[in-house]
Subunit: 365 residues, 2 copies
């Protein structure tokens, strides 16, 4: 089995704790011969800022570029509230996304049957929920220029952010969404604000054209982003794949994740384009939850989102679908046994710690 | 009693039907001497486009400018999907907001106790919910320039929208939010994405300064917009007033409205600055729901959102708080009697028509 290179970037807060469980899982996979990983580890976010004054070092960027995949924990926390904008923890994450060209962010929102009760929504609305949000991740208002604050003559300040999308950027993310829909339930909702934004007008046009030319077998619906937010709360099960820009994807995927009652359980993948020669794509895997400074360091975090993100890496980056299947089955098994970290425990239920949950998943494999 | 000037702009779809009930209410108020309104009526949206090729005529803009308040129905529908961008139905609404300087959009999300069951959320999470979203309405990505689609040399297109905010724009909307919080529960959440957007950085800074200098008695929390969307679904009752920019306000207010189970019930107000001389402010009142082309013309629409918007007009623009109180009481009364339009009827319950609901409210006054 060829050795595969993985870069671990635990980051801040609970990122460190949940990544520790991935390390244990990797050691297990290497020992049992299920895989052969060579890992490196580096700093990102506030931890990197504390060490080098930057949210990610050039060395770490180089390691990320050379790795077959990156596992990312989480970044940020009140400790870094006042660092300069360019060095804020999130800058490390955004640079990784942009410089590695990870334009396609897959964010599944799945309601685990055992956890349907944890949703704020009525059970019948979320039981069996399985949505895939496909978020454009390297464009839009996140990266467009100008992006600045200038001081005007009268002493006031004026802040500008710029939303930019090109035909090419929209085409490639649309294809990711349609390809996923083909192997799912065959339905794509494309979400924008074409009634207000020119980028929305172009988005709708290009998605419509890609659909017509390349994916007649998939059903395409257009939905305004505000209405999409509403409909996610009203009848979430109407959705299969939702494709949208960077900022709408940020908002909609958080709302969708919250519906499931399984926020501590949800993985995500950020994928680049296929290399024409090698057929490989750059990729970074990350839990949907953040660094949760309020519970950091207490062993309360749920490692499942990060373990499941690693499962996506096994499947999409390493072609180890057997190991991925075993991991998914192990996660289901521990949940069925009733094991719960605090975030998914019901009132009065005994909760296990981060490392107890991690150990149980490995044991179930 | 001085005569007061009201411009009615029913617009498209169910806008026409719900505005008809406001007209009946106005006739009733005039006849009983509770008020003395002089109304004009004009076209907006698709209806205006069909008549003049523009989403609002210069004449209608002039009437809006001269009126003491504008009542707006709803605009848009599939019929106008292919009209030129500048003439699309929404352009009429956006021009009214911008040219009348209606920078402060108040969007209450209130869960009527009788309707808590209609929410997708569990009853205990929404019962008693009373949130006020204060949305900036004349700035941000809705109006910033450049806003364009250009064709590049390689034949691709590139779309740009520009998010702009100045100190002044943020200060004045922050004051509206803090003033409201003072007479409510004393809590403001300011929502932005300062971790990604420079406009978010300035927003957070300016809101913090206004708070410190002018509203020490109000509690201020900062919350990232994606997290705010999440928290609205998780534990909505933690919020009192939420203040945010135009685009986040669009998304968050739709999510918040949907939580209440009362979408067909929710009013909104868009207010301008106080005139230094007269102390008056320009104002437009509008239901939160849209033109609902799917149910238009069938007498199914719920007129309460528009009647309640008119109630806000009575209160904020016309100083007729007695009439406003009576209207609010009448709406509560018909709901308590069990009267329901289709949108809020429970399964199997008999629903009344738009005009039956309107008539019942007037009768209860
Ligand atoms: C941390 C932050 C920069 C990031 C984003 O806005 O993209 C996060 O919210 C996410 O959704 O991954
Ligand atoms: C109709 C549309 C232009 C409008 C908006 O985006 O502001 C609507 O969604 C609203 O929230 O009032």
């Amino acid at each position: 089995m060829a050795t595969q290179k993985l870069l671990l970037l635990p980051g801040d807060g609970i990122g460190v704790e949940v990544m520790a469980e991935v390390k244990r899982l990797i050691a297990f996979l290497n020992k049992t011969g299920l895989a052969s990983f060579e890992t490196e580890e580096d700093l990102v976010g506030g931890a990197a800022y504390d060490a080098h004054g930057k949210a990610i070092s050039e060395d770490a960027m180089k390691l990320a570029d050379q790795a077959d995949a990156v596992m990312f924990g989480a970044v940020g926390g009140p400790k870094w509230a006042d660092v300069p904008y360019e060095a804020r923890p999130e800058a490390g994450l955004l640079r990784l996304r942009k410089d590695l060209g990870l334009f396609a962010n897959l964010r599944p929102a799945v309601c685990y049957p055992a956890l349907a009760e944890a949703s704020s929504l009525k059970r019948e609305l979320v039981e069996g929920l399985d949505i895939m949000i496909v978020r454009e991740l390297t464009g839009g208002v996140y990266f467009g220029e100008p992006k600045e604050i200038v001081t005007l003559e009268n002493g006031e300040k004026r802040a500008v952010d710029t939303q930019v999308y090109t035909t090419h950027e929209i085409e490639r993310i649309a294809r990711v969404a349609f390809d996923l829909a083909k192997v799912r339930r065959g339905l794509v909702h494309s979400s924008e604000k074409h009634n207000v934004m020119k980028s929305g007008v172009l988005w709708k046009q290009v998605v419509t054209e890609v659909h017509k030319a390349e994916y007649p077998q998939v059903k395409l619906e257009h939905i305004l982003a505000d209405n999409c937010g509403m409909q996610l709360v009203r009848t979430p099960k109407q959705f299969d794949v939702i494709v949208c820009d960077n900022l709408f994807g940020d908002m909609l995927s958080d709302v969708a994740a919250m519906l499931t009652g399984s926020l501590g359980m949800l993985p995500s993948a950020a994928l680049g384009a296929e290399d024409a020669k090698t057929g490989k794509r750059k990729a970074m895997y990350e839990p949907v939850h953040g660094s949760a400074p309020d519970i950091a360091g207490k062993g309360l975090a749920n490692p499942i989102a990060t373990l499941a993100s690693f499962g996506m890496a096994l499947r999409y980056s390493f072609g180890l679908s057997e190991a991925a299947d075993r991991l998914d089955a192990a996660i289901s098994a521990v949940l069925s046994e009733g094991l719960r970290t605090k975030d998914i425990a019901s009132a009065g239920q005994n909760a296990v710690s981060t490392s107890e949950m991690g150990a149980a998943v490995i044991k179930a494999m």
